[in-house]
Structures are given as C-alpha cells and as structure tokens.
C-alpha cells in the first residue's frame, strides 16, 4: 500500500530518513537544505531520536560519526560551503569505515555563490574532496519520489558498506513540490555483525567489509584516523600496511560497483545518447517525450559514484554521448575516460535548468 503526499524534496528526504530509522541528525542551517533540519527537528524527538543543531558543519559531520559508532543511524544535511567544511571529517569517516549519510542540496558555487539557485558543481568534490585516496558512494535524485527512496537507500548502502554515503540533490529537487507515493514500509539493511574475538578491522570476507564493533558492546575497539592495523592500533609508518588499508577501503566500494549500480537505459540501440543525473534528467525526459525518436537514447544514472561504467557499453551503436550538467562538465570528463566515441558536454551554470530547446540544439549541432 502506498499513500500519496504533495511534498517538497527536502521534506521527502527528511521523511525518507525517518522511514529508514534515522535516529540522530546533527546539522547546521544552510540554504537550500535547511528544511531537512527543520523537519527532523520537529519529527525526530517524537520518534525517540536526537536532533542536534551543531555549532558548524565541521561539528555536524563529527557528531554524526560519533553517533554512528554509538549505534545510531546518523545523518546530516548541508550545501556547498558547509560541504567544503565537512571534508576533513568525511575523510575520517572513510578511513574509520563509519556508516553515515550526508545530504548535499547543491547550490551555485564557488564560495557563497548562489545560495538559492540550483547547481551540480560538487560532483567531483564529493568523490575526491578529502585528502588522500578513498572511495565513497554518491546518489543523485531527479524527482521528489527519488528524494525519499534514495535517502532510504543511502542509509542501507552506508550500513552495508561501512562508508559515508552522499545524497547529491540540488536546489531544484530540494525545493520542488510534486506528488509522491509513500510506501508503508521500506527495506532496511543493517550493519554486518561483529564476531567477538576477531581483530576489529580484519576484513576476512571477500567483500572486504569488517563487522561493525559498536561502542558500548564490550569489544574495546580503538577507532583512529591514523593508518591502523587490523587491531585498530596506529601503525602510521608502515608502507605496506598503509597500502593494504587504503587499497581495501577503495576496493570494497569499487568491487561492488556493479552490485550497487542503479540506472535506466532507454533506447539502447540509439546513436545519439543523453546521459543525465539529478535535475537535468527532467529536461532530457521532456526531449525524449517530444521527439519520440528511437535514435535518441537516454542513460539516467542514480548512483553516480562509483560510476557505473558498464552502463555505457549498453549503447552499442552510440555515435555520440551528450551530457547536460549544471556544472562545467564534471561527469562528462569521467565518461570520456570510458568511451571511444565523442562526448559532448552541455554545461549550464547560473541556477536555471537546461531548456528542451537547448538540448535539441545540441542534438542537432554537427559534431
């Protein structure tokens, strides 16, 4: 059974978090993500959860990592400037394999930029923003319905892979109101249980994910952002240990690339193929609807990182990929790495969506 609602994206995200069992939210107000914090401030305490308005985004990120180790399903929400502040602790979460969810309702940057306008300029920052090598998961919703569903999915992926997971929404989706169908129950995937007696950071299984030794359960785990051995003890000067640890942190995500891939393929035999994620998906859908041309394909990506490169191979006849993005071609460059045919980036900055006419012009322009 489902129940219809008419919500804006940020409300849907907050409700998705509640449905997923989020029990801790640490946040700081920032346009255009504030509604998520406001909604959870009202709803979380009634469900036995904790809402903390922290003193800044650095503290927000830190608090959800702490809460996650204490057993909570923890989340924060922010936008560009706050996201930049969180970067150090995002690296910490990746290094210590802490499950947590960060919602970034993207706005125009750099710097304070356009607080009330839409953008997708943080797509590379989310993947590479903190120092050192690591891997994370990033999801991009294109509808209010997906705001809800992907938030739930973020929590499940975070707990399953023990990694920070990002919901990379944008101002358009965050503030847009549309009809959404709320399911009665949602799927919940928990953390892998810890086998007592094992070293806390030994990943014996082929999925490279160690069990989660939650605080307060008597496992005496030491969690450190320093390079650590499988007991969790710092061993920052061992080259081999560091190599093995960082490789494992990256491989546990990269190896599961196909398992977690989430995309739609429309007209796989087409020669001209649009690829989009987030708000530009909506413009491409309009073009697809208007043209009804089997020669125009569309790859709609929901899990952007790790990038689903196998999806590109489904378009066997593709002569050209067209990538409308609300940045200067961040994911277009990633796609260029994987395909041999020309990749045409259709960037748009400033906060307005691509118009269907712009996409049609790009489609008709000769390469």
């Amino acid at each position: 059974m489902t129940r219809p609602e008419f919500w804006q994206g940020n409300t849907a995200c907050a409700e998705g978090a509640l449905a997923a069992g989020c029990s801790f939210f640490g946040g700081y107000p920032i346009t255009p993500s504030t509604e998520i914090a406001e909604h959870l401030a009202a709803k979380l305490p009634k469900k036995g959860g904790v809402f903390m308005q922290m003193e800044d985004e650095i503290a927000s990120m830190a608090s959800i990592i702490g809460a996650s180790w204490a057993g909570a399903r923890a989340m924060t929400a922010t936008s560009g400037p706050g996201f930049s502040l969180m970067m150090e602790n995002i690296g910490f979460a990746a290094m210590t394999e802490t499950p947590c969810v960060v919602v970034n309702v993207q706005r125009g940057g750099p710097s304070t930029g356009q607080p009330t306008m839409s953008a997708q300029g943080d797509m590379m920052q989310v993947r590479f923003g903190s120092h050192g090598d690591y891997a994370v998961i990033a999801l991009c919703p294109a509808t209010v319905q997906e705001m809800y569903e992907l938030t739930v999915k973020c929590f499940n992926l975070a707990d399953k892979y023990r990694v920070p997971v990002f919901l990379m929404a944008d101002e358009t989706i965050g503030h847009m109101r549309e009809k959404i169908l709320i399911p009665d129950t949602v799927e919940r995937v928990g953390r892998k249980p810890f086998v007592p007696g094992n070293p806390p950071f030994r990943a014996a299984d082929p999925d490279l994910i160690p069990g989660f030794p939650q605080f307060g359960t008597g496992h005496h785990v030491h969690v450190t952002g320093l390079t650590h051995d499988e007991r969790g003890y710092p061993a920052a000067t061992s080259p081999q240990l560091h190599m093995d640890l960082v490789k494992r942190l990256v491989d546990k995500i990269e190896n599961a690339r196909d398992e977690m891939a989430d995309y739609d393929v429309i007209n796989p035999d087409a020669e001209q193929v649009f690829i989009a994620y987030g708000a530009p998906v909506r413009t491409v859908q309009q073009v697809m609807h208007d043209r009804k041309d089997p020669n125009i394909g569309f790859l709609r990506i929901r899990v952007v990182w790790p990038f689903p490169e196998k999806a590109l191979a489904k378009f066997k006849n593709a002569k050209r990929f067209l990538i409308p993005e609300m940045n200067l071609g961040q994911i277009a460059r990633e796609i260029e790495r994987h395909v041999k045919v020309p990749v045409r980036s259709i960037p748009k900055l400033g906060g307005e969506l691509h118009t269907p006419a712009e996409l049609v012009r790009a489609l008709e322009a000769q390469p």
Partner: protein, 262 residues
Amino acid sequence: MSFEDWYRQDRLPHIFCAGCGNGTVINCTLAAVEQMGWKQEETIFVSGIGCSSRASGYILADSLHTTHGRALAFATGVKMANKGLHVVVFTGDGDLAAIGGNHFIHACRRNIDLTVVCMNNQIYGMTGGQGSPTTPLGCLSSTTPYGCAEPPFDLCELAAAAGANYVSRWTSYHVKELEKAVKAGLETPGFSFIEALVQCPTAFGRRNKFKQVADHVEHLRSHSLLKAKRDRMIENGEQIPAGMFVVGELTRRNRPAMGVKP
C-alpha cells in the same frame, strides 16, 4: 582491579617523551574512572589530535581518536546517541583552545554530560614546540622565537564563562588532587572541565630554562596558588604575584545539563 588494568598492556610503553606529564594525567584520570566503578564496556574515551590525544589509544575501552580539535563534537554525537555511555574526552591546549575553540565553548554552553581532561603543556608538542593559545607571555617556542607576544587564554575562566558545570585546575605535580578533581568531574552531571598543566621537557622546558624535568615540575608546584589562598589575598587587598596560576576547584554549579542518562 586497579587503574593499571585500564591500560592496553600490549601498547605500552607509550610514545610520550621521557618526563612528559601526559602519562601522569592519564594515570590520575584512570584512577578516578576506576573509583567510579564504571565498566569498561560502557566507558568511551574520545580525543582529538596531539600528544595528549594519543591517550585514548592506550586505554582498554572503546576509544575514538578523531580529527584535530573536533573531539568534543565527536563526543557530543556519541553521548547524545547513547546516553548510557560515560564519555571522557582527552584533549590538549592547542586541540581544545585553538582549532577546537568553537566546539569547546559550545559544549560548555550546552552543558553536555562529558568530562574533559585538558593536558595543557602550553605548547604544540607533537609538531615540535610551536606557540599555542596558552603559551605564557614572553615564553620561547619555535614560532615565538622573540618571546610570545600574545596574551594567553585562561581555559578555566573560559569554560566557566561559557557555562560548564564543573571546572578545576591542577598540575601534573598534584596527582592526588588531580585524581580527586577528575572524580568530582565524572560525578557531576553536565560539562566538567579539568585542566591539568603538564611539563613538556622536549618542546617547552628545553627552550624556557627548565633543563631538567624536575625543574619544570618544581615550577608548576611553586607557581600554583590555591584558590582559597587567592581569595584570601584578594580579600586582604594583597597583590597576586605575576606568573602564578590558580589551582583548585574553580566552579561547581548545577545548570541544566544535556545528555544525562534519565
């Protein structure tokens, strides 16, 4: 059981230099925790970055060694997500007062039920002795080669002004008093702040005329002024000699606290 049983024996000896006061402060803290009768599985030690913050890694309990300055923010998350846990934070002067200054005053303002033990060596020890926000005026460090020109923070007054329920200051010389102060902090609901001045022979003493570890400890002893005596001196209109710092229980009150186990 004694406080020795709270150490991860397989990790000792620790990385602190010979004569460093941090080990003493950890002893005193653990002795206080031991007296509280807390179980190891429900006590969490959180720390930031720096010499002092390595402490959490030597303790046989769940411990979180976090990013520079953010220990209190992490500890807030741990405590609020599970109020049944006892959370003790180890931090240093640079970690707490410089990069973590904002988290410090806000944790005091929230009066969240944490006990913070700050090992104040008046220097950035781990990076080789740079001036910190608590380096006394005129003291030499690698970044204040002509003497520190900036007035230092009084961390205890800062904590009291920001709203902490319990504030006290001792030194690594006053081990018994420090142990009692930490215990009082652990017993107090709300934010408890215990500043422990410690000697740093490698980075601070070496540059500031404390050739021997004992010289620095003797300086800490001779320059500490009991709060009761300080109050008496003020009452009598006496001048408090320069270079003295007040030790003792400076604040104890009962503001509404956050995160206390119901």
